[in-house]
């Protein structure tokens, strides 16, 4: 079924009887060519691109709970491609380009809203580092723009220009960045994949891999064995747990990241802003809630909940940057489990087990990567070669000293 305004009109006039499930709920088949473990954004996108761009017909996505229930359903919805390093920037720029055509491709309105993202500058050293990054982006063909304090004042009059502890000295704006309705990304990919024959199997937990002579033959699940020519794992915060079932240890720790939404407010924030002198970033949803977040809680956790100190820290950042928020109320806080890698950059690669492929280590940047991650993982699964924009995301880069460390924090995941 094609979605359109006319379709809504027609259904409205005929009692909405024609709407069908957005994806089927099939029983798992005994064998697929490719099984994707993880029905989150990346897994669903991978399946969609396998089916739509790489001609793979026999594909299943298996998900232990409900699709979109992981980090694609609990993030701050930001998209951008403002990366410094050659290993990252082309990939994220590819992702941003895919976002730009996503809705037409999927025939699903995920509300990709290119309202711009602004990184604020508070010190000269930060200006130098940001300038280097902005130039790197321009050299890579992305967009980036330097804004003076006066320009920022015109766009964001609500920011603290008067008595800030760390005065605002300018900013870097990526106009093509913005936000996307996060749940809709999962649903849109699920619908697109399902329409192309992908089986999306919810409530099906992987309990083990069947590995024979070093070759992965399929997955054991709570609903029985499912055979697969290739298995791709895209399970974000659960990466270590799932891959341990194949006997693999990863350069990844799971950490909890909290995010927050305020009560609905009339629009005050045109785009996304990030505070350069504290851990705080913020945008405003189309419903009016301010969506914001900050730093990791900092300790390993699988609990999907955080603690008060980070809540307070984020609120302090909010108040430091936007003094008018004092009487705005925080409505809800939640947390996701982040697959924090050792250099802050992801992994899309084969593994030492033949037929088993891994996609993870997204840290807290996984949402914006969803389309490219899906495409590149699909490329790897379908062709056994890395996509040109993802060649740096190798599993062996730590052994070889080829880290992709945007922040320069080294092998300490909670600092990335």
């Amino acid at each position: 079924m094609r979605y359109s305004g006319f379709r809504i009109l027609k259904e409205a006039l005929t009692g909405h009887k024609g709407w069908r499930p957005v994806w089927r709920s099939p029983e798992p088949k005994p064998q697929y060519d490719i099984v994707i473990v993880g029905g989150g954004g990346h897994g669903l996108a991978t399946a969609y691109y396998l089916a739509s761009k790489f001609g793979q017909a026999r594909v299943a996505v298996i998900e232990k709970g409900w699709i979109g229930g992981g980090n694609v359903g609990r993030n701050t919805t930001i998209i951008r491609s403002n990366y410094l390093l050659d290993g990252n920037e082309p990939f994220y720029e590819f992702s941003l380009k895919l976002w730009e055509g996503l809705e037409q491709d999927l025939n699903y309105n995920a509300m990709v809203s290119q309202r711009g993202i602004l990184n604020l500058i508070h010190t000269d050293a930060q200006r130098d580092a940001y300038t280097r990054r902005g130039n790197a982006m321009l050299l890579q063909g992305a967009d980036e723009q330097y804004l003076s304090t006066d320009q920022i004042r015109r766009e964001y009059p609500v920011l603290n220009f008067n008595d800030a502890r760390f005065p605002l000295k300018g900013g870097l704006a990526q106009r093509r960045g913005g936000t996307v309705r996060h749940d809709a990304v999962a649903w849109g990919y699920a619908r697109g994949a399902d329409l192309r024959g992908v089986d999306i199997i919810q409530n099906c937990e992987v309990t083990g891999f069947r590995i024979e002579n070093g070759i992965c033959r399929g997955v054991e699940t709570s609903r029985g064995f499912i055979g697969a020519g290739k298995v791709g794992v895209a399970v974000a915060g659960s990466s270590s747990r799932v891959m341990a079932q194949a006997g693999l240890r990863l350069p990844i720790e799971s950490h909890v990241l909290q995010a927050f939404v305020s009560e609905g407010l009339k629009p005050v924030m045109p785009g996304v802003i990030t505070f350069g002198a504290g851990h705080f970033y913020c945008s405003q949803s189309d419903k009016g809630g301010l969506v914001f977040g900050g730093d990791l809680d900092g300790y390993n956790s699988y609990a999907q909940r955080g603690n008060l100190p980070v809540v307070e820290d984020v609120a302090e950042g909010a108040m430091a940057l936007i003094p008018g928020l004092g009487r705005v109320r925080l409505l809800r806080m939640w947390a996701g489990v982040m697959d924090m890698s050792m250099d802050g950059s992801p992994i899309i690669d084969r593994t030492p087990v033949e037929g088993l492929y891994f996609n993870g280590g997204w840290c807290y940047g996984g949402f914006k990567a969803t389309p490219a991650s899906g495409w590149c993982f699909a490329h790897l699964l379908a062709t056994d070669t890395p996509h040109p924009t993802a060649t740096a995301y190798r599993l062996d880069r730590f052994r070889k000293g080829l880290m992709i460390d945007e922040k320069g924090m080294g092998a300490q995941p909670n600092l990335h």
Binding site: Y3, S4, G5, A12, H16, W19, P21, V22, G68, E89, P90, E103, Q104, N107, Y108, N109, V112, S113, H122, T123, A125, R127, D128, T131, N135, A136, L139, R165, F166, L172, R181, D183, A184, S262, E263, G264, L265, K266, V268, S285, A303, R305, N307, L308, E312, V314, A315, A318, M319, A320, G324, R327, R329, L330, L331, K400, G401, L402, G408, M409
Partner: protein
């Protein structure tokens, strides 16, 4: 309307307030909602999506409809629930999300198109053409978005934070909470009793049943009075416990001044309490749920328990003629209470065919309310009788009850899973509660007052027993103990819209559509329809939605499950969470020992992390910062300058194994450093990347002082402690961070020795031979002041760093200036410091950015292969030693007056501006007054082999593009003759 009698209000006093431009009167004890109802105002707001007229639904914090913008100016507070606003004289409130007015709202047009604006319709359209989303559709949607509006003025009020500790935290001061607090308090336990209401008592204040032969409210007041006498019990009304966090820590917000026009002098508006409890008891009561029927959202249609609360506590009824719609006995109680207060109850419409009778009104057993009428408030409801006939009742209010849900919020914050309790047709807290947490009373599903008292007392005793105290069982006061009789009934069948989530306008039709499209999982239902996502987080809505979904899927509600309640329990002001850490107090400000002196000199300051450092010292007649900086650099190089370098990290390293320890911490050798000598040290992270650099000075065989960069002072000390305690616990070495203990000044320039000689006490040979470059000593200055002297140089001049105990820092800078006057000593700031270090090619922040290796910095040979030091092994990985690596170089512009911007990228001459041609980047840049040219440092692939090459330095971001020549990074005195002079 205000009832003739009753109510916990002070009828003797009148207070005036304003809503929507109209002035009204109320009484102390009123809420804004009760006062508006008393004044005959039923219409208080508009819904989010369809802009339907709305009145108050509830009497507590679960209110979804009656949201107002409270106060004005910098105190304007959007989305404030009228039910939670304690009335005060001069209160001003405005309706929100309505234009041009609350009574006539233009966007109510949305309601006419509701058939097109179904759940998730926006996912299916607005896709063509692509650019129209940002340009057309989304702006329209955003124009309609949001509820209240925020002010752009800063909040004039203060917020505080505090810590509290207790044996037992009791959350909620209804019958179970009061009984629990009494039981524990009488036993001598440290108790905190917190309640979101300004009047403790919970439902006891809203009901008429008696306890111990007195009115419930009076018994509550008596209990509160007894608790107030106990010194170890802290009563916290107006205090919402909003979150249950790890290890018994609860977050709570006390609304200290929200019931006042303005806070009293010195008082905060609100206080965030972090309550550290050994045990916590959730006595949060229950929240009533409605029954959905067509047009069940009109002002005047409210929860029956709320209708009862308004009548009993505030002596208010929205109308003289009311009806009750119920599926349980509690609805009958509401009817009885209202009749007792003189309100006419037209009928009790009870869905149960076997509904009991009720004196004074007609009970319509087996009947259902099928519709309502009235544009801005309910005028009449249509009832379908058990026999199928329809009847219209003309009423100004309808009390609806579908039963009560235990108030689960806090019990889910640590992922406790509620379980379905058939007897009350509701979820109750599951067994897996947060450690130390228990639940009592209605929050646990015990709905009778007797059960609330009994379970409250019992839970308090159990908590105390857990802590090793015993509390005697109290004599429970006599009260009603009626069983709850309910026959679950969730919604009236029909084709018109029946509301589940009032604020977000989610109707049964939306749930049906979600089911039809496969959004059956509760989280999918929520996210697709927005059920439960409004400011009330679905407190009254969620279960109704789940029940409808369960009906559609043929599963039980227990199988269907429930969404997660997450913190906060009710919304919390960001100001309270931030406390005092806002504006200039966002973070502490660290001042150097010479700060006050520097301010006297008119210095301009700059942030260096938390530090404020003097950036430069402008003099009269200097109109541009460059003039000052150039002067400071030239004066220092010509004669002598002084700079406060206290911010550099300092670590005292002592012990027999101090040298061995440092030998492992630094990649270069430290073991053989002679006493009285200083060595430059390069510290790697274990991954082989440069972590930090500094100096190590050996003051004695077993005593070193090492310095770190300002930025890494904390991290380096942490790292050294890690190595000392975790890696080599038996090395005899002790560490003390002395960054704050010593004030340290750099004296630089050819005349620095002469200045120093006027400070240092006699007997010290400061000659080049006696105290050569890289010497150090402990000595005294100014007649006996303890000091440390290091002959080290960041500027490239003959230079010293002189340290004294921090308390003498201010005196020392004044003394230095005094004795240096003869040489026209010049104080210099961080800018001049930066210029001189770039002239010398020393690495600093731009080069030590956590991604560079010793090789990148041209220091590759420093990494010793003869020993095991941190980072040495992994620094030899192939990716870090590959040819074509970045190497630190100097850069000079073809035109000396052209600035080379830091952050510019370097490419071959004439190469196109694409990443494939990228050869490196500029890390630091300045104007060198000594060279009369702009200069810069940068990293270039194979830079050392490219000396003399001309490159393109491009910063398209800032519109700069120029030619630069690669030179040695050592622009000034490359042989280092000056610093050895």
């Amino acid at each position: 309307m205000r009832l003739q009698q009753g109510g916990q209000i002070d009828r003797g006093q009148k207070i005036s307030f304003r809503f929507d431009g109209q002035y009204y009167k109320g009484h102390p004890g009123d809420t804004l909602a009760s006062a508006l109802l008393a004044n005959g105002v039923r219409l208080m707001g508009r819904s989010f999506k369809y802009h339907r007229p709305r009145g108050v639904l509830a009497a507590g914090s679960e209110e979804p409809n009656a949201l107002v913008e409270l106060r004005t100016g910098g105190r304007q507070e959007p989305n404030t629930r009228a039910t939670m606003v304690e009335l005060f004289d001069g209160l001003q409130a405005m309706p929100q999300n309505a234009w041009p007015s609350l009574r006539f709202d233009a966007l109510a047009i949305n309601d006419r198109f509701s058939n097109f604006l179904t759940a998730g319709f926006y996912y299916k359209t607005f896709m063509w053409p692509a650019a129209f989303w940002e340009k057309l559709y989304e702006p329209i949607i955003r124009r309609a978005a949001g509820l209240g509006s925020i002010t752009t003025q800063p909040d004039p009020d203060a917020y505080d934070k505090g810590y509290l500790h207790c044996d037992l935290l009791v959350i909620g001061a209804g019958p179970s909470g009061l009984m629990a607090a009494l039981t524990a308090g009488r036993a001598g336990a440290r108790v905190i009793l917190a309640d979101e209401d300004f009047r403790m008592g919970g439902r006891l204040n809203a009901d008429r049943q008696s306890i111990a032969d007195m009115a419930g409210a009076d018994w509550a007041a008596q209990a509160v009075a007894e608790l107030a006498q106990m010194p170890h019990v802290r009563l916290m009304p107006r205090c919402t416990v909003f979150g249950a966090f790890d290890h018994g820590i609860y977050g709570a917000v006390e609304r200290v001044s929200d019931h006042l026009l303005t806070p009293q002098p010195g008082k905060p508006r609100q206080t965030l309490w972090r309550i550290y409890s050994k045990r916590a008891l959730v006595c949060a009561g229950a929240i009533e749920r409605p029954i959905a029927f067509a047009n069940n959202d009109r002002p005047g249609i409210m929860l029956a328990g709320a209708l009862r609360a308004y009548a009993n506590r505030w002596a208010v009824s929205p109308a003289q003629d009311v009806a009750i719609f119920t599926n349980n006995d509690d609805g009958h109680r509401t009817a009885a209470d209202l009749m007792a207060l003189g309100v006419h109850v037209a009928a009790v419409i009870d869905t149960r065919p076997d509904a009991p009778p009720l004196a004074g009104t007609a009970v319509l057993a087996g009947a259902q309310v099928t519709d309502s009428a009235g544009r801005l408030g309910v005028r009449a409801v249509t009832v379908r009788l058990a026999n199928g006939q329809s009847r219209k009742l003309a009423v100004g209010a309808l009390g609806v009850t579908g039963g009560w849900n235990p108030n689960l919020g806090l019990t889910c914050h640590q992922r406790g899973r509620p379980v379905w309790e058939e007897g009350i047709a509701a979820f109750i807290p599951g067994a897996a509660l947060a450690p130390g947490m228990a639940v009592a009373g209605a929050a646990m599903g015990h709905f009778s007052t007797h059960a609330a008292l009994a379970t409250g007392a019992e839970a308090a005793r159990a908590a105390l027993a857990d802590l090793g105290h015993s509390a005697p069982a109290p004599d429970l006061p006599r009260t009603e103990d009626a069983p709850t009789r309910i026959t679950p009934f969730w919604h009236v069948a029909g084709t018109q819209r029946a509301w589940l989530d009032f604020q977000n306008d989610v109707t049964i039709k939306d749930v049906k559509l979600a089911h039809q499209e496969g959004f059956e999982a509760v989280e999918h239902l929520k996210r697709y329809t927005t059920l439960g996502m409004a400011t009330d987080q679905g407190k009254t809505a969620n279960l109704g939605g789940l029940a409808v979904m369960a009906e559609l899927t043929g599963q039980s509600i227990a199988q269907t499950g429930t969404t997660m309640f997450r913190p906060p329990y009710t919304p919390v002001a960001l100001g309270a969470l931030a406390g005092r850490s806002s504006g200039r107090d966002f973070r502490p400000t660290r001042l150097t020992p010479s700060h006050h002196w520097a301010r006297e000199q008119g210095a301009v300051f700059v942030e260096a992390g938390l530090w404020l450092r003097a950036q430069y010292y402008p003099r009269a007649g200097e109109s541009h910062w460059r003039e000052s900086v150039d002067r400071e650099v030239l004066a220092t190089r010509a004669s002598v300058g002084v700079c406060d370098v206290t911010t550099l990290g300092k670590v005292d390293v002592q012990g027999r194994d101090a040298a061995e320890f440092l030998n492992r911490i630094y990649c270069n050798g430290m073991a053989k450093l002679a006493v009285g000598r200083v060595r430059y040290g390069l510290m790697l992270r274990e991954d082989g990347i440069v972590f930090d650099d500094g100096t190590a000075a050996r003051l004695a065989e077993d005593h070193f002082v090492v310095t770190t960069t300002t930025a890494n002072a904390v991290a380096v000390f942490r790292h050294m402690e890690f190595a000392r305690q975790c890696l080599w616990p038996d090395l005899d070495v002790q560490l003390i961070s002395t960054t704050e203990a010593w004030a340290q000044f750099a004296l630089a320039g050819p005349k620095s020795r002469a200045v120093l000689e006027r400070l240092v006490d006699g007997g010290v040979d400061l000659s080049n031979a006696g105290f050569p470059f890289m010497a150090c000593a402990e000595l005294t200055i100014c007649n006996g002041c303890r000091a440390r002297l290091f002959r080290i140089s960041f500027s490239g001049e003959l230079a010293y760093e002189l340290a004294v105990p921090a308390r003498y820092g201010d005196a020392l800078i004044r003394k230095i200036m005094e004795v240096g006057a003869e040489y026209d000593i010049t104080p210099y700031g961080t800018e001049a410091l930066g210029v001189m270090r770039i002239e010398k090619g020393h690495a600093a922040g731009g080069e030590l950015n956590g991604t560079t290796t010793a090789r990148n910095l041209g220091l590759g040979r420093m990494v010793s292969t003869a020993k095991d030091s941190i980072g040495a092994v992994l620094s030899r990985r192939e990716g870090l030693v590959a040819p074509e690596g970045l190497e630190l170089v100097g850069l000079r512009p073809a035109n000396p007056q052209s600035q080379i911007p830091a952050g510019a990228h370097l490419l071959a001459q004439g190469a196109a501006l694409v990443a494939a041609n990228d050869l490196g980047h500029v890390t630091a840049s300045c104007y060198s007054p000594n060279l009369g040219s702009y200069i810069a440092l940068g990293f270039v692939k194979n830079g050392a082999a490219r000396m003399g090459e001309t490159l393109r330095a491009a910063s398209p971001l800032t519109g700069v593009d120029l030619e630069v020549q690669i030179t040695s990074p050592h622009f000034y005195d490359p042989e280092g003759e000056r610093l050895r002079a």
